[in-house]
């Protein structure tokens, strides 16, 4: 049985992460922040090493200068690790994680449509959730986006 504190300790030791940046606010919840360069490595270890096999969802946040992405991965015992990473808003490029979690497709498409992230390696398919013909460059979940910005745009 893995628990939140054990996961925290193991991740901190293995990847040399600052324990200040790993928080365990309550039982079965771990929030940690990793630089994007290290993200893939940490995620793979969380999934394969620590056996967190269920992707709850991916949350995208607009933080002004950068876009943050939180990957919530759950263990069968109820523990959820929220892995946060960020990329600059000017070049918001992510690698897809659909090779690890095939069900991540819709969550990544949401990031593309609503936050304007570019996800490399995302399988081709219909866009989601915005309609065909939605104007380019309009990303509703960005903080500077207002409904009025749709006026007069074809």
């Amino acid at each position: 049985m893995i628990n939140a504190n054990k996961a925290k300790k193991e991740l901190a030791e293995k990847f040399g992460l600052d324990t200040e940046r790993i928080s365990v606010p309550r039982a079965r919840r771990v929030f940690l922040e990793v630089p994007y360069a290290q993200f893939r490595q940490v995620l793979e270890h969380v999934v394969n090493g620590l056996k967190f096999r269920h992707l709850c969802t991916i949350t995208g946040l607009d933080e002004g200068e950068s876009l943050a992405f939180i990957y919530h991965v759950a263990h069968a015992d109820g523990t959820v690790i929220s892995l946060e990473t960020r990329v600059p808003k000017a070049a918001p490029v992510l690698q897809t994680i659909t090779d690890i979690f095939p069900d991540g497709v819709s969550y990544e498409r949401e990031l593309v449509d609503l936050l304007g992230a570019r996800v490399e390696g995302l399988p081709a398919g219909n866009r989601y959730p915005l309609p065909e013909g939605w104007p380019d460059g309009q990303y509703p979940l960005r903080k500077d986006w207002k409904v009025g910005m749709l006026d007069g745009v074809k």
Binding site: P25, A74, D77, D103, Y128, P131, V147
Partner: protein
């Protein structure tokens, strides 16, 4: 016959909500399927950022008409965690009771829809009649048939009286008896079994790989249930079994849901027996301190996930909602393989899709409010009877007859 492509949706009698499935057929056999989602996107997540917490709570409750309590509780849990609110135990019990009642009405609804999709309308009529009992109970407890509005930050808005709890136990007896009858029907009616068995096959490996949640996953023997794995509300105080099944098909999903109904009845009995006395609410601040929380909740359709980030004001920085249907939709394409056109509706229905949950909202326009009037539930009920009587249909006799027959 050459391959033909037939559209199921965005408008189609089998779909209660607009989504588009384009199915390529060879004769009656499905070759491939293409999905287009997003017709119900209303931008709720964005709207939540522009509203105060209490406004957002009511908005989140309206993400879905069926699992409204799921979304509002899931959201509220996250916010309460950020604010560090200690919710009184009695309030947690009341939330749990409503949550299990919601599961009942959702599963009974599903049973009816499943019956309708395979042309078995009798099952639809019977299970929806019984669902009505749950809806009336919910209306009596919370004041509403859907979008109960019982939650508030720090507790619940209404207490449940002793009489209501006793009534609840009686209702459970009626429902349990009816559900046993459905189990009998489901295990004996040949055309039903023929139409459900082997349809929409999803192997255990695929279910894990594609992240199937809720009854969809459990019917493929994925032993996961947030209520047990990540206990919230009052679930750690009561005993229940997580129903799993190894049929891996629509029949299995039916058995899981019917089995969960039986568990829910027993849960309600335990909750009624154990409900502590005390206040039902504590005062909550208007501005929530900065922080973040992830909340999980076992909605009738599976795991519901809400992430809330607070920034110290009275409005949330970010609210992320992941409804169970979005997690299950990835499995649908897999389930369609090697099936026939006739099975499309039931396969889609078998994950109990809720597309408005999946797509959520963008923009709300306030309609002009008409005449404001406060009506009690009884008055509203009487008014509906009166309206139908004017149309020449008298439900009063029938209602009386039905309640006698069902001994409520």
């Amino acid at each position: 016959m050459a391959n033909i492509k037939i559209p199921i949706g965005p408008q189609h009698p089998a779909l209660k909500e607009p989504e588009s499935f384009s199915i390529t057929l060879n004769g009656e056999t499905i070759i491939s399927m293409d999905m287009r989602l997003g017709y119900n996107h209303r931008g709720i997540e964005k709207a939540c950022e522009e509203r105060t917490y209490i406004q957002a709570m009511y908005l989140v409750e309206r993400v879905c008409g069926i699992c409204s309590h799921s979304h509002s509780t899931c959201f509220i849990q996250a916010v309460e965690e950020i604010a560090g609110l200690a919710v009184p135990p009695r309030a947690l019990y009341i939330r749990t009771i409503v949550s299990e009642l919601e599961r009942m009405h959702s599963h009974l609804l599903w049973l009816g829809v499943a019956g309708h999709e395979i042309g078995f309308d009798t099952l639809l009529m019977y299970s929806w009649r019984d669902r009505e009992v749950v809806m009336d109970t919910l209306a009596a407890l919370t004041g509403n048939r859907v979008n109960y509005g019982i939650n508030t930050f720090g507790g619940v808005r209404r207490d449940i009286s002793k009489e209501q709890l006793d009534g609840l136990l009686k209702t459970m007896d009626v429902l349990e008896e009816r559900t046993k009858y459905y189990i009998e029907v489901a295990s004996q009616e040949m055309t039903l079994i023929k139409r459900l068995s082997g349809v929409g096959y999803l192997s255990h490996e695929d279910a894990v790989k594609l992240g199937a949640v809720g009854p969809t996953g459990r019917a493929s023997n994925v032993d996961a249930d947030v209520r047990r794995d990540d206990p919230y509300l009052a679930y750690k105080d009561i005993e229940f079994k997580v129903i799993t099944d190894t049929h891996n098909d629509v029949f299995g999903r039916t058995l899981v849901r019917v089995g969960e109904l039986m568990q829910s009845y027993s849960m309600i009995r335990q909750l009624v027996a154990k409900i502590p006395e005390g206040p039902v609410t504590v005062k909550a601040p208007r501005k929530m301190p900065a922080g973040e929380a992830l909340s999980r909740y076992e909605a009738p359709r599976g795991e519901d996930v809400h992430y809330v980030k607070a920034n110290g004001t009275d409005k949330a920085e970010r609210v992320k909602i992941r409804a169970p249907t979005l997690a299950n939709l990835q499995s649908v394409a897999k389930m369609m393989e090697n099936n026939r056109l006739a099975d499309v509706p039931i396969i889609i229905a078998a994950i109990d899709p809720c597309f408005s949950c999946t797509d959520r909202m963008v923009q709300i326009k306030h309609a002009d409010h008409g005449r404001q009037e406060t009506l009690s539930w009884q008055a509203l009920h009487a008014q509906s009877l009166e309206w139908y009587r004017k149309q020449g249909v008298d439900f009063a006799d029938l209602n009386a007859k039905m309640s006698r027959r069902m001994k409520i």
